[in-house]
């Protein structure tokens, strides 16, 4: 006997409606623009179909392929430098008993609050033509690969650190006891227990750093000099030569290594098995004077370098005329003297960050919820999940370029958002979608899978349950998502450089403009304002989280 197909109730219909909305959203903000970009790379300037001709001429142009090579070796070098540094630092934070761990952790995260341009500007003041420590380079120029590599190491360090800290905190004390009982030396224990245990974190951090390094635009623009990389090539092709087709080709060349790295990372994550079972005994580091002292020294040096980078930018922004007149002044903060938009650029950035945080959190969290909890609809949900993960692999510059082609195309009914703040918000949400989505999904997966069944049996609608249980329980994750979106929207350059309009210029963009115009001190000042804002909001967020957790998360305390 064929069974009667179970009817859908109102909640099922709402959930499916939600999934469909999410599909549409991701299609419009991510997939269709990228598709348009792809098509563009197969057409010539007049729009005629030329197949792979653009790609052929790309690979036949030595100056362009040189950039590809430059990008690859510089990014590889950066990855090779960041990983050991971040690994030792993370090891010190998680496995030593050295004092001041929380301070060290906070200091190491400074670069996340700043635009990537900040370390580049600081380096110019330290090692540039009129730099404080110019002699240290023995005549080599900071403008070029050296400057790019050093700036990127600073910029990428905290991203690798966060992954490695998580990987290294997952330690089961019983493994170490077993190694000791079996008479393994410290060195052998490290190679056979510690390193294999953090292997996947290390691989993941490697891919993240490589992707960040190869796709970043700001650093190469400010300190790259005549050293061309893929990211600056796109900018030159599009803004400089108005060669959109070639810009699209370079965009796809840039997308390729990012997608490969992303795919490899996913594959590694998929192979990873849970090392920590519920019965694991957490590892508590014991005091070991020599080890702790040397790790403390290492961390102190790294943290000092972080502080010097930040301090240099602050100092430079306060100096009257570098290096001739070192009296302190606030004149560099009168942005209207250096850039037509003045402080308006900063206000635009604030607006963008606020809208991105609020709208983005609502869309990402609700989207993750409907994807996670809709019954049936498996194919559509799988495809949507893939789209949500795709965004991480798309460099901001490529996404921005794709938006020009898509939203500016004649006949697109959504064309009205072009040049407004709205397109910047949409772009930022799409650009930073994946990490937020993973955060939300992880939090949702920790909820008991039977909550929905209980609600159905008690005839309580899912909407009511979402508001009364799901959101309150996931509140810490919701706040994390919002702060992540805020800080990234505040600091990003690459995603928005193509998209700002005449009255929506952003702070990070004005840094580039002021730096180009030779007002480096003002550029540093704007970077400092952004750091201060991010840090302030981050502090506010910590206070709010703490307050909320005292009131609504009382149940977490036994």
């Amino acid at each position: 006997m064929r069974a009667a197909w179970q009817r859908l109730d109102r909640d099922d219909l709402w959930m499916r409606f939600g999934v469909v909305l999410l599909v549409l959203w991701l299609a419009v903000t991510l997939v269709l623009p990228l598709g348009t970009l792809l098509i563009k790379s197969f057409r010539d300037a007049d729009g005629a179909w030329v197949g792979l001709a653009n790609y052929a001429s790309y690979f036949a142009t030595p100056s362009l392929t040189q950039s590809l090579w430059n990008s690859l070796w510089v990014s590889t070098l950066i990855t090779a430098l960041v990983l050991p540094l971040a690994y030792v630092y993370a090891y010190a934070l998680t496995r030593s008993a050295m004092p001041g761990k929380s301070v060290f952790k906070a200091l190491a995260l400074i670069p996340i609050l700043a635009p990537s341009l900040l370390p580049a500007i600081s380096l110019i003041y330290l090692f540039g033509n009129q730099g404080l420590l110019k002699d240290w380079l023995f005549g080599a120029s900071i403008y070029g690969p050296i400057g790019i590599v050093i700036s990127q190491v600073f910029y990428c360090f905290p991203h690798a650190l966060m992954i490695l800290v998580v990987a290294l905190s997952m330690a089961d004390a019983r493994h170490y006891e077993a190694a000791r009982v079996l008479g393994a030396s410290k060195r052998r224990t490290f190679w056979t227990v510690t390193l294999p245990g953090s292997k996947y974190g290390l691989i993941s951090a490697g891919f993240v750093v490589f992707t960040l390094a190869i796709t970043d635009f700001g650093i190469a623009k400010v300190i790259g000099g005549r050293f061309n990389v893929l990211a600056t090539d796109i900018f030159k092709q599009v803004i400089g030569q108005q060669n959109f087709a070639m810009g699209a080709v370079v965009g796809f060349v840039l997308l390729l290594p990012a997608v490969l790295a992303f795919g490899a990372d996913r594959w590694v994550q998929y192979r990873q098995v849970a090392l920590l079972t519920a019965r694991a005994v957490p590892l508590v580091p014991v005091r070991h004077t020599v080890r702790d002292a040397s790790l403390w020294l290492f961390c102190a040096l790294v943290a000092l370098a972080m502080l010097v980078m930040l301090g240099m930018a602050v100092w430079a922004s306060l100096v009257t005329r570098w290096p001739y007149n070192l009296t302190l002044t606030l004149a560099n903060y009168e942005f209207s003297n250096f850039d037509s938009e003045g402080w308006q650029a900063y206000r635009n950035s604030l607006q963008l960050a606020a809208w991105t945080a609020v709208l983005g959190t609502v869309i990402v969290f609700t989207g993750a919820y409907v994807l996670e909890k809709t019954r049936g609809f498996a194919l559509v949900r799988g495809a949507t999940q893939l789209m949500a993960m795709l965004s991480m692999a798309v460099p901001g510059l490529v996404l921005g370029l794709a938006y020009i082609f898509f939203f500016n195309a004649p006949g697109n009914p959504l064309g009205f958002v072009y040049g407004t703040l709205a397109i910047l918000v949409i772009n930022s949400i799409a650009h930073f979608y994946t990490v937020s989505h993973i955060t939300a999904t992880t939090a949702l997966k920790q909820l008991d899978a039977e909550f929905e069944a209980v609600s159905a049996s008690l005839k309580v609608s899912l909407g009511r349950m979402f508001a009364r249980v799901t959101v309150p329980v996931c509140l810490p994750a919701v706040l994390d998502i919002s702060i992540y979106l805020f800080v990234n929207a505040m600091t990003t350059v690459s995603a928005v450089i193509f998209l700002y309009g005449s009255d929506t210029k952003l702070a990070a963009v004005s840094i580039i403009h002021m730096d180009e115009a030779g007002f480096t001190a003002a550029a540093a000042a704007m970077a400092v304002v952004i750091v201060a804002t991010s840090a302030g909001v981050k502090l506010l967020h910590s206070l709010l989280t703490w307050q909320l957790s005292r009131r609504t998360q009382a149940w977490r305390v036994r």
Partner: protein
């Protein structure tokens, strides 16, 4: 077929497939109003799947489910009448006990004080009147289980579904809650279906037990019937303990087990030489001290005489396991080299001075030997 009376719940040839694996095959079952029914079986037997299909949490691939004569097969969970308690309890961690219990009552047009009264009554019912303001994480496992029960009963469902509700608790709390669950059911009279893999739980709680294995129902019956007249070697072995003996019928009322002729009382109509499985429960094997004349035990007067002399065997104690009130004795049979397991009250074991290598005379009373055709279903 004419039906004299419509059952409360009528499960008709329900099937469920996961890929190529049939979790349920053509399962039919009728449950009367007010009954306490246990689905009992090993893990993977389909008992939880059947419960979830009744709740509408899984979609069946065939068959029908009727509740009070109404076909509910196509209804989503939210339109079916049931309350459910999961093994994990699924309590909302951010709501206190009162709000958890009142969760299904709010927004239903009930006044604030009506809800509060109902919640108070439910908490008293499960003995948690004092814990209303606490959060689930602050409660013990047993208390959480009661909250989940009160929450499921709040909307006065006519069917209560319990998915292994006691298995996450330790033995002492489990036994205690078992009694309370039974009393609660007697007080409320709500039709209850409980899934469990614990035979003791099923035997003590259920009005009727549904024994399941490999996606089919093996037997439905009262606890006594299931225990005393298991209809398959699997049921005999799963509910209680048994010695499964592969044998071949050798004549009317006789079977050959590895060269030993045994008399057995319950014979189905099977031709001679059919392969069968004989079962005898450990507590039904009678032990005597060894006597040289096998058919003339010393303590003849105190024991019931076996129906047939051929069921008196010589054995040697192989291993002795002390289990508190009784001892489990595994014995090596001299005649055919097989092993049998018997349960002996500890007092008797002490009296007989049982020890390894001790020689014994044992009886396998024919009326306790059950015969099952083929041992395909034997576990």
């Amino acid at each position: 077929m004419t039906e004299l009376k419509t059952p409360y719940l009528d499960v008709r040839s329900v099937g469920k497939r996961f890929g190529a694996f049939w979790a349920l095959k053509d399962v039919s079952l009728r449950i009367e109003a007010g009954e306490f029914v246990c689905f009992l079986g090993p893990s993977g037997c389909g008992k939880t799947t059947l419960l979830r299909i009744i709740a509408g949490l899984e979609q069946q691939d065939g068959g029908q489910i009727l509740q009070k004569g109404r076909d509910i097969s196509g209804l989503p969970s939210s339109q079916r009448d049931f309350g459910i308690v999961f093994q994990s309890y699924a309590l909302f961690p951010n709501l206190n006990v009162k709000d958890n219990v009142g969760y299904g009552l709010q927004g239903k047009g009930l006044g604030r004080s009506a809800v509060a009264d109902r919640v108070k009554g439910l908490l008293e019912l499960v003995g948690l009147a004092q814990s209303g303001a606490q959060y689930p994480a602050q409660l013990s496992g047993g208390m959480q289980q009661r909250v989940a029960l009160a929450r499921a009963l709040a909307t006065s469902p006519s069917l209560l579904l319990l998915d292994e509700p006691l298995s996450a608790l330790d033995a002492r709390v489990r036994a205690h809650l078992r009694t309370e669950l039974r009393q609660l059911h007697q007080r409320l009279g709500v039709t209850t279906i409980m899934v469990t893999h614990d035979q003791e739980e099923a035997l003590s709680l259920a009005d009727r037990i549904v024994v399941m294995n490999h996606g089919v129902i093996e037997q439905v019956g009262t606890p006594q019937t299931i225990y005393q007249q298991p209809c398959s070697a699997f049921v005999a072995d799963f509910v209680g303990k048994t010695n499964p003996l592969p044998a071949r019928l050798s004549g009317p009322g006789r079977a050959n087990w590895h060269g030993l002729e045994l008399a057995c009382e319950h014979l189905p109509h099977l031709p001679d030489h059919t392969e069968v499985t004989l079962t005898v429960r450990p507590e039904d094997i009678v032990l005597h001290p060894h006597s040289e004349h096998g058919d003339n035990p010393e303590n003849h007067g105190t024991l019931q005489a076996p129906l047939h002399a051929s069921n008196r065997l010589g054995a040697t104690v192989h291993n002795l396991e002390f289990l508190g009130p009784f001892c489990r004795v595994s014995m090596h049979l001299a005649q055919n080299g097989q092993i049998l397991v018997a349960d002996v009250p500890t007092a008797q074991a002490l009296h007989m001075g049982l020890a390894a290598q001790r020689r014994l005379t044992i009886d396998l009373p024919a009326r306790h030997i059950r015969v099952y055709g083929a041992h395909a279903r034997a576990h």
